[in-house]
């Protein structure tokens, strides 16, 4: 996709006017209403200037989607407007390698060869995405969804932030990581049930009475009722968030189109409605704190400038996209989208902080 399609001011921070850094590039094909959308990428931008990345207004998500369903498969979105500070030639070379990989769907590429900003799901993970999509589609149709029917993909290891062909050398660039994804198994089931049995047996050995109506001493305790989780400085919502995180401590992304986000605190933002079709937005993916940790760890080795993710302090960034993933551009953009064949839409980004 040619980089001129994205309007210049989409890439500027709302708050400080500086350039936004690309945080994540997610290739997310969908099947909605029987319509198969292959050419669909989400770009998540954040402002790395000092003191600016805190405000939710300095974060932006763009959905870039092809208008023509018959677009050739080689025109994948593989470039953005971010530059590289250093080693641009090697980066370009790797970029070419990346396009080769995309054409060859079955190749995964070993993790060692990474660094070319590959996306979630683009390297032969279509079957995973497909399984997810069925569930996701079903979820968006039904009003009530059970969590067991949704397979959430928690993307593990490290994040993908890519950089593309250089345009100008002073745009900020974040370090690149590789990402792989896997399905999440709900923490209530699985290995914990086995360990639960063993521990309660151990307790019986130790003499801690589990079913207590009588005690060794003359104590009669009574009057206990169910109590929700509480700690000195953490409320129930955050405790649930942390529990899911602890099951997969390295998760950087959570993806489930049409699913339910994992809230970190009680104030839910308002995702608003789609700017193009006016339809409602649904949850698609969210960024998780280990991503921040990895980015900051990588950045602390580089020479310190004022650009960097070191000021970011969010707990999670939740992305809502149009539920129909619409393609009909409004009239003012119609000519341009028909000319280039790509639609660029800004989607809702909600940032949650520590309280």
């Amino acid at each position: 996709m040619p980089s001129e399609v994205i309007a210049e001011d989409y890439l500027k921070c709302n708050v400080c006017g500086g350039d936004l850094g690309l945080v994540a590039q997610v290739y997310a094909p969908l099947t909605i209403n029987g319509r198969k959308i292959d050419q669909r990428v989400l770009y998540i931008f954040g402002c790395p200037s000092a003191a600016c990345g805190i405000s939710p207004l300095s974060w932006r998500t763009l959905r870039v989607q092809s208008c023509n369903d018959t677009a050739s498969s080689s025109s994948r979105a593989d470039s953005t407007d971010q530059s590289e500070g250093e080693s641009s030639s090697t980066r370009e070379e790797q970029q070419k390698q990346a396009t080769d990989w995309w054409e060859d769907d079955s190749s995964w590429g070993p993790a060692a060869q990474v660094n070319a900003g590959d996306d979630v799901g683009s390297l032969g993970m279509q079957e995973l995405e497909a399984a997810l999509l069925e569930a996701g589609y079903a979820a968006s149709v039904r009003t009530q969804t059970e969590s067991s029917s949704q397979q959430e993909i928690t993307v593990l290891h490290e994040d993908a932030s890519s950089s593309g062909e250089p345009n100008s050398p002073d745009l900020p660039v974040l370090p690149c990581f590789y990402i792989y994804s896997q399905n999440e198994s709900h923490p209530c089931r699985g290995s914990r049930a086995v360990s639960a049995l063993q521990t309660s047996e151990r307790l019986e050995e130790n003499g801690v009475a589990v079913n207590t109506t009588e005690d060794g001493q003359d104590e009669a305790w009574e009057g206990e009722e169910y109590e929700h989780d509480q700690a000195l400085s953490a409320d129930r919502t955050y405790l649930k968030f942390k529990k899911r995180l602890d099951c997969y401590p390295e998760q950087c992304f959570r993806y489930c189109f049409g699913g339910r986000p994992l809230w970190a605190n009680k104030d839910r933002g308002d995702p608003g409605i789609c700017t193009i079709c006016g339809g409602c937005r649904t949850y698609e993916l969210q960024l998780m704190p280990p991503l921040l940790y990895y980015l900051q760890q990588a950045c602390k080795d580089l020479p310190s400038t004022s650009y960097g993710p070191n000021d970011w302090e969010w707990l999670t960034v939740i992305i809502y996209t149009c539920a129909q993933s619409c393609t009909r551009a409004p009239s003012n953009l119609q000519a341009e989208t028909q000319r280039s064949g790509w639609l660029v839409v800004e989607e809702a980004t909600i940032v949650q902080y520590e309280t």
């Binding site: 000092a50 003191a51 593990l156 290995s191 914990r192 049930a193 086995v194 360990s195 639960a196 049995l197 063993q198 521990t199 309660s200 151990r202 307790l203 050995e205 130790n206 801690v208 009475a209 589990v210 079913n211 207590t212 001493q217 104590e219 009669a220 305790w221 009574e222 009057g223 206990e224 009722e225 169910y226 109590e227 929700h228 989780d229 509480q230 700690a231 000195l232 400085s233 953490a234 955050y238 405790l239 942390k242 995180l245 602890d246 099951c247 997969y248 401590p249 390295e250 704190p289 280990p290 921040l292 940790y293 900051q296 070191n310 000021d311 302090e313 707990l315 520590e354």
Partner: protein, 278 residues
């Protein structure tokens, strides 16, 4: 000493995980009731910090837990407490009680675990967790207890010889209808209290104290929470030796970033870093 509990995990995984030193981070030795030998995924053991304070702790920028208490920073990750207190932190399940709820299909029983953690040297935490299974309640209770670890101030009854051994003054705490009052006691008195709050006081590192309680102490939850509230108040009480003007220090958030994140409360606890000078 591989009988049960604590070392089970280290031994059970010695073959698989090589030496990762898992026993040294407060999981192995202190946890008698948690000797899981079942398969547990390796990646669950890593700690990737979630909060800003967690990232600072992992980087080693925070010297001790007292620095966190000094600035009243909320501790939102139990791994932070494990990082500082490590193997000294012991935990114990005080009581597991079934709580029942009447449903159309009969009664639904869940288990409520009361867990206390502490290092017997000025840090104690209390956790209460309800769950359908006992082990889940215990594990959750331990995590909640670690999240609630507080510093406990100790003082003298009379002569200021040796180490502080009792509460610095009479403090009282209330939860529900239960009020608990802790009164300083001379050395050698021991902890004069009912069995359950005695456990909390032992884990706090208080050697001698007189207690007096009032209200419906049959409710275990309120009773232990009232005791915990008392211990919380030991550092909130302004005694004459704290009359000296506070020398404010920079909060770790300000020290390590270039901008002011959010205003942190300047707390009353000035000399938490060192024992109060008598």
């Amino acid at each position: 000493m591989a009988e049960r509990g604590g070392f089970g995990r280290g031994f059970g995984r010695a073959g698989g995980g090589g030496e990762r030193g898992r026993g040294d981070r407060g999981r192995g030795r202190g946890d008698r009731a948690r000797g899981r030998r079942g398969p547990r995924r390796e990646e669950e053991e890593k700690w990737l910090p979630v909060t800003k304070l967690g990232r600072l702790v992992k980087d080693g920028k925070i010297r001790s837990l007292e620095q966190i208490y000094l600035h009243s920073l909320p501790i939102k990750e139990h791994q932070i407490v494990e990082f500082f207190l490590g193997p000294a932190l012991k935990d114990e399940v005080m009581k597991i009680m079934p709580v029942q709820k009447q449903t159309r299909a009969g009664q639904r029983t869940r288990f409520k675990a009361f867990v206390v953690v502490g290092d017997s040297n000025g840090h104690v935490g209390l956790g209460v967790k309800c769950s359908k299974e006992v082990a889940t309640a215990i594990r959750g209770g331990i995590i909640l207890a670690k999240l609630s670890v507080i510093p406990v101030r100790r003082g003298y009854w009379g002569n200021k010889i040796g180490k502080p051994h009792t509460v610095p003054c009479k403090v009282t705490g209330k939860c529900g209808s239960v009020t608990v009052r802790l009164v300083p006691a001379p050395r050698g008195s021991g902890i004069v209290a009912a069995r359950v709050p005695k456990k909390v006081l032992q884990f706090a590192g208080i050697d001698d104290v007189f207690t007096s309680s009032r209200g419906s102490t049959k409710t275990l939850g309120n009773f232990v929470k009232a005791t915990f509230e008392c211990l919380l108040k030991t550092y909130a009480f302004l005694t004459p030796d704290l009359w000296k003007e506070t020398r404010f220090q920079k909060s770790p958030f300000q020290e390590f970033t270039d901008f002011l994140a959010k205003p942190t409360k300047i707390s009353l606890i000035e000399d938490v870093e060192k024992t109060p000078i008598y």
